[in-house]
């Protein structure tokens, strides 16, 4: 799904070899791709490891708010679709963990960082999914925001990350469309169903805007990340693009975006929108989201409940390896 770069400091150590650093910067500036065994500054490696692993964690945790609706999907068709989507999110997490591992951090260490609560993941998944319409809103808005962020990352400077993003983007478009279709059906349904759709939009709109991360003025690392092509657009640029694309989609549903300040600005050829509650955003980043604890617990439980499968597979592999040695 999506990650926000949530790091604090990012000083490029002056201990880097200036010649190598200059050559690296020139390659990146020329839009060349950096591959795992290439020389790279430590700060680049560190920032990317954090960004890609946060992104991977977001995909994995992102399965939880939707997974708990698989058993309650309103039809077999919806259930099959939701299963496929959740399976995709698992796949996206795996592509991204693999990409992050090429930078020298083990899968085990990343998973441990997630389970211990040390690692961050997208704030959006710490909001609850209360009704079926939330599954529609997530596909439409959350995956929509994710696509907005991920499309430019297909050209990010680190080869394995860019290639993972190409696969993810190919698959993500179905996620957004199935969500919008859920919203279409509900919006055209009974008064109660339409209210449910509006309620979901009301609750997911602002958290979706927050997915793009802090305002540019409060994102001190953006300049560095953009120079390194780890990031291709600023948070506010992407947020604006998302608003401009999404408001007409809400209109088409006959739903109202919950922002009294939302107005079309002819001069900038885009919408002006109201102030984002950054207090809420930072609280969720700190782990105070409405269901943050439940999410991590569900994740840890799933890992522990699967332990016997991993142990059995490892024992089986060992037994066969011994047999082959003996033969």
């Amino acid at each position: 799904m999506y990650t926000t770069e949530l790091s604090k400091s990012n000083n490029v150590a002056s201990t880097e070899d200036p010649g190598k650093l200059a050559a690296f910067e020139a390659r990146v500036a020329a839009d060349e791709f950096i591959e795992p065994k290439d020389w790279m500054p430590e700060a680049y490696r560190r920032t990317l490891t954090r960004q890609i692993s946060q992104h991977a964690h977001s995909e994995i945790v992102g399965m939880l708010p939707e997974g708990n609706w698989i058993g309650r999907a309103p039809s077999l068709r919806r259930k099959a679709i939701l299963l496929a989507k959740v399976q995709d999110e698992a796949g996206h997490g795996l592509y991204l963990y693999s990409a992050a591992e090429t930078l020298g951090t083990s899968r085990e260490a990343m998973i441990e960082a997630l389970h211990s609560g040390k690692a961050k993941y997208s704030t959006i998944f710490n909001y609850p999914t209360l009704t079926w319409a939330d599954i529609g809103a997530i596909g439409w808005l959350v995956d929509g925001a994710a696509i907005m962020n991920q499309v430019p990352l297909q050209r990010t400077s680190y080869g394995p990350y860019a290639r993972a993003m190409v696969r993810v983007c190919k698959e993500e478009s179905f996620h957004q469309r199935q969500g919008y279709e859920i919203m279409m059906v509900l919006s055209a349904g009974t008064a109660g169903q339409k209210r449910m759709a509006q309620d979901a939009l009301n609750r997911w709109w602002w958290p979706s805007l927050m997915m793009f991360g802090p305002a540019d003025a409060d994102s001190p690392n953006t300049a560095q990340s953009m120079r390194w092509r780890i990031k291709r657009d600023t948070n506010d640029e992407l947020r604006q693009k998302f608003v401009d694309i999404t408001v007409p989609q809400a209109d088409a549903l006959g739903l109202t975006v919950p922002d009294a300040a939302l107005t079309w600005n002819e001069a900038k050829d885009g919408y002006d929108y109201g102030d984002i509650d950054w207090e809420e955003f930072y609280a969720v980043v700190r782990g105070e989201g409405p269901v943050a604890k439940e999410r991590l617990k569900a994740r840890r439980d799933a890992w522990q409940d699967g332990a016997w499968v991993r142990e059995a597979a490892a024992a089986y592999a060992q037994k066969h390896a011994r047999k082959q040695e003996a033969a």
Partner: protein, 93 residues
């Protein structure tokens, strides 16, 4: 528990094409690596055949040797057909 070994995954997208590297999976043995590769990389008819290779078995060239490895090819343009000027009237060559 330590990570299972890493396997590189190659997919033949259709008959007539060669297998192409698509990513990697962790698995305790080759059989499970194949299963994981199938679930991870071919959910949408991306392939008709899969290879998995233990990552540790791959020997890669070192990027710091790139110049020695690949630059010598740069000054041998005579290996390309366009190096040779053939008069317009001469055909089928």
């Amino acid at each position: 528990m330590n990570d299972w070994p890493l396997w590189e995954v190659f997919v033949r997208s259709k008959g007539g094409l060669s297998h192409r590297h698509v990513g990697s999976v962790h698995a305790p043995d080759a059989e499970i690596a194949l299963r994981h590769a199938r679930d991870t990389y071919t959910r949408r008819m991306e392939g008709v055949s899969l290879w998995v290779v233990p990552s540790a078995q791959i020997t890669a060239s070192d990027p710091s040797d790139d110049a020695a490895m690949f630059d010598p090819a740069a000054d041998k343009v005579y290996r390309h057909p366009t190096f040779y000027n053939i008069p317009d009237g001469v055909t089928h060559i």
